[in-house]
Amino acid sequence: MKVLYNWLKEIVDFDYTPDELVGVMESLGIEVEDFKYLADGLKGKVRVARIVKLSDHPNSDHLKIAVLNVGDGEVTVVSGAPGLYEGATVIWGAPGAMLPNGMKLEKRVIRGVESNGMPLSEEELGLADRSETVIFLPDGKFEPGDDPLPYLGLDDYLYDIHITPNRGDLLGMIGLAYDIKAKSGGEMHIPEFHVDEEPEIGTYRVDIENLKACPRYVARIVRDVKVQASPDWLRYRLALIGQRPINNIVDVTNYVLFLTGHPIHAFDLDRLEGDRIVVRFARKGEKLLCLDGVERELDPQILVIADERKPVAIAGVIGGEETGVTEETRNILIESAMFDQATIRRAVTALKVTTESSYRFERKADVNAAPLASLYAASMVKELAGGRVGPANDVHGELLKPVTITLRQSYLDRLLGHHIEPKTVVSILEGLGFQVENESGDGKKLSVTVPSRRRDISIEADLVEEVARIYGYDNIPSRLESPGSLVGKWERSPFEAVLDAMLMAGFIESKTIEFISPEDAKYFVESEDDLVRIINPVNDLYSIVRPSLIPSLLQATSINLRRGNREVRLFERGKKFKWRGPNELPEETEVLSVVVAGTKEGSWIEKERQLDFYDLKVALQAIEEHFRIRLETEPHDIKFMYPGGVVVYNGKQIGIIGEIKKDVLKHFDIKVPVFALEIELTELPMPMRKYTQIPKFPPVKRDISILVDRDVHYGEIEKAIEELRPEYLSDFRVVDLYEGKPLPKGKKSITISLSFQHPEKTLRDTEVDAMFDRLVRGLIDRGFIIRGINDEGVK
């Protein structure tokens, strides 16, 4: 909301400078988003001037040369403004003036004639959207050389303030003034309005069908009004707070809204059909052409103001075009009503429209403000448009009673951690316009009655905030006690532990957002019923809550490769989501995902090479090492991988690993192979560290070469060795993989280095040989061919 310093000062006394007021408002919880002096660039550079001589420009058929009396002398200006005349009082912008639109006035020669500044229009001064010509000031009020800024309302400061949703009462100057008053201690000067009601004008019938949706409706007829432009002060004031002046009636409704915070509407009485207003919910299929030129379809959850035939306004939101006040209007009906916030909010949500009016009703208007606002409006209408004012027809149900809340000193002190003297508390609350009764006599228990405009206050804690707010948060000292019985801790999980493993293995941590597109998602689920869909996504690209982190990491891979980052080794820890139907929250599982793609940069010592599957596999090794666990990988069909497999821990599938299929890569615009894995972290144990005796005696090594068909996985041999594992076999690893001559076609040789070790002694050759032989026999029994032992006939 836009607030003028001078306007506020008319309503409440305070000594704050315009700059200080910013700090005061902030200390009250009113955020000042913008603050400026309106006459910046104009002060001292604009003057009242009188045209003393006017002549045609010799080199132009539309320009005039005007000699202006500017108070302390005469200046010549060239102007093309229509309607200039000798004796006219205008506003002269001197060279050097900076107009609100950013234009700077300078001494210029216009078609051979020197021009010193120019007469200014409302548009140029930021007081209207468009102007036909310059401002002609009323005769007899100004002398050349006078400062016109106060008249224009420009010698003022504008604050753009943001009001939190609980403080609807601050959306009017009077409500705002109450808050300032509480801080400044100054007097309030609420404008007093009076109007002589003429009973013979009669009242207008109002039928409210639903008193919950519309608890109050004040209707008032004003006859024989003269619709015309509002006086300058009103037009300028509205323009400066961002409201376009329309005519005196509409301007009054706007002015009353900004003054009181209570929305008002005026109908052209003669355009209402029948003789009553009905406040009801819209009927299916009803439409209304609104004042903003948009025709809106209504539905039965939208409350409307209707005449006997049709809706004429969307209650509390916007009026209808057909019944609006125009220059032809003679008789009006002023509506000052109160609407339920939820009802208005439903309409606003359904119609996707917000107005100054709906914004206030959504934030709880003051039911008691309705008759007052009606009176204000009637009085102003009479003053500005003449006419005869009828009595108000105030229709309402049971009115809200003022809320009375007990405030205990003990509660206040406990919640704030600071003692505020009862005297101060009382004066703060009274300053806010609350009624305070000293229930206990000593200030330990106060009975506080809150005016109806402060509907945000309903419990004792609300009063504590009011006291603290005015007292000043800065004046409450900070306190810090020792932690007491509560100990700070963080029960870390594999989610945290896996970070170290990945960093040690040299992977780079990535964070991507959880949203992907349906096109991305379809590759990664067995059934699209498993997808968690956002019903109101930012856009379609972000409409699925991901079922896997791999699509996000493929996006990241694609971006990196396209940007010339050739080595992609990324991991991310996050959640994958799975739909479980509308009656259960989706399943959320913490996973680790890793992708590897691109090229390992070469150097003088090593050649550049493509990253491959085994660059990915180290991630599993790092986890095994860090968590002290065994992870097995078994070939398995994976929808988006080939070859692919599952990662098994403790007999349970906890993840997948493999190469991403070509069609998936194509979808992500990736042209190189990508290797990826994803494992569920929830299944992993926390890493356990326990000391085991370091062997004192050196291991004895034996190599074994096994000849297998090319498509046999090493995992099968590994499994066999694990099962046959001789007692003192401490370790074994693949040291060579060979295909080609002299091996038969379609065969490969896998050489495994075996380490035998006894914890307490050096093993003798005979002991090792015995274990080795047993292992070899076991392998042969399982059908393996050991080179140099049973490979006769295959060689």
Partner: protein, 328 residues
């Protein structure tokens, strides 16, 4: 004897010529074997000793030992020379080593670790496990944000069911409710986590980002404690001279509520919202607001990271550009 003397001289001369040309260790080893090996030339010479007359044996022995020592030392010296030359030629210590791939922690992870540490130091228990898709009840109702209240506009919400009962949590505050439902006070928790909003990506907004929040419930927890805690928190995070400003604000789940700004690099930056737990929130979880009081605070972690690292565009945090990630 003279013959011996002649042979010694001849061997010495030949040896000196050859060794001067030996440039690698293998050749040197062969040379050593040729002269000092079991059948080496010098060794063979010693066999002639027995044919030397007794009175000359002493002199001859001295002559031969002298030669043997000379050859041995020459070979040792040459070996050192060759090895030394090896070292110079084989390693250029100014060359880079083998390329390595280094791990990098995401800047947000680094900020989380720092935040969690500070929180632990202040006696908070860090809770990292919580649902990110929530019910309306936990995200709004229980936090005193009724349906059709304009306060709901403070959080532009993404829904996963048509009836809006299930949604992507808009803040970490549902964890307050979930934790209080399960435990009895006193409690002091710190909850970092993912939150979601209906915001398209731009320089300062992301549809998914991180928040962290603290909650402390005990007897006599006060606004003064809230101020003290946050001031210390900010000092740990931004430096010992950090100043905070508390101004009144509005959150449906706290009363009184405050917004906190930090003075950083010459300007006040709004970083955090906080307040005293609203009695209705306590009532929702069955705590007696007459017995217990508490404070809560919450802030955007991405914003914190951006301030700390001088990152001007939030999108950088989620794009995974490796050049960016390697800066951390």
């Amino acid at each position: 004897m003279e013959e011996l003397r002649g042979k010694v001289e001849q061997i010495r001369k030949e040896f000196n010529q050859i060794i001067a040309e030996v440039s690698d260790l293998d050749a040197l080893e062969r040379l050593r074997i040729r002269y000092l090996g079991r059948k080496g030339e010098v060794t063979e010479l010693f066999k002639l000793l027995k044919s030397v007359p007794a009175e000359e044996k002493r002199e001859a022995g001295r002559l031969l030992n002298e030669l043997k020592n000379e050859v041995r030392e020459a070979i040792a010296a040459r070996r050192q020379e060759i090895e030394a030359s090896f070292e110079r030629e084989a390693y250029d210590i100014t060359l880079p080593g083998r390329p390595i791939s280094t791990g990098h922690k995401h800047p947000l992870t680094q900020v989380f670790e720092e935040l969690n540490e500070i929180a632990i130091g202040l006696g908070f228990e860090v809770i990292t496990k919580s649902p990110e898709i929530e019910t309306d009840y936990y995200n709004f109702e229980a936090l005193n944000i009724p349906a059709h209240h304009p306060a709901r506009d403070m959080w532009s919400t993404l829904f996963v069911t048509d009836d809006h009962r299930m949604l992507l949590r808009t803040h970490t505050s549902p964890v307050q409710i979930r934790t209080m439902e399960k435990r009895q006070p006193p409690l002091r928790i710190f909850v970092p986590g993912r939150v979601y909003r209906l915001d398209p990506f731009d320089q300062t907004h992301a549809p998914a980002f991180y928040q962290a929040e603290g909650l402390y419930v005990d007897r006599n927890v006060s606004f003064a404690d809230l101020k003290g805690t946050l001031e210390l928190f900010a000092k740990e995070l931004f430096g010992p001279k950090t100043k905070l400003k508390f101004v009144p604000s509005f959150f449906p789940f706290t009363e009184p509520s405050a917004e906190v700004s930090v003075y950083y690099n010459g300007e006040w930056l709004e970083i955090l919202g906080c307040g005293m737990v609203h009695p209705r929130v306590f009532e929702a979880v069955g705590y007696d607001p007459e017995e217990w009081s508490g404070f809560a605070f919450g802030f955007g972690v991405d914003r914190m990271a951006m301030i700390k690292f001088g990152i001007k565009d939030i999108r950088l945090l989620y794009e995974s550009d490796i050049r960016f990630l390697k800066e951390f």
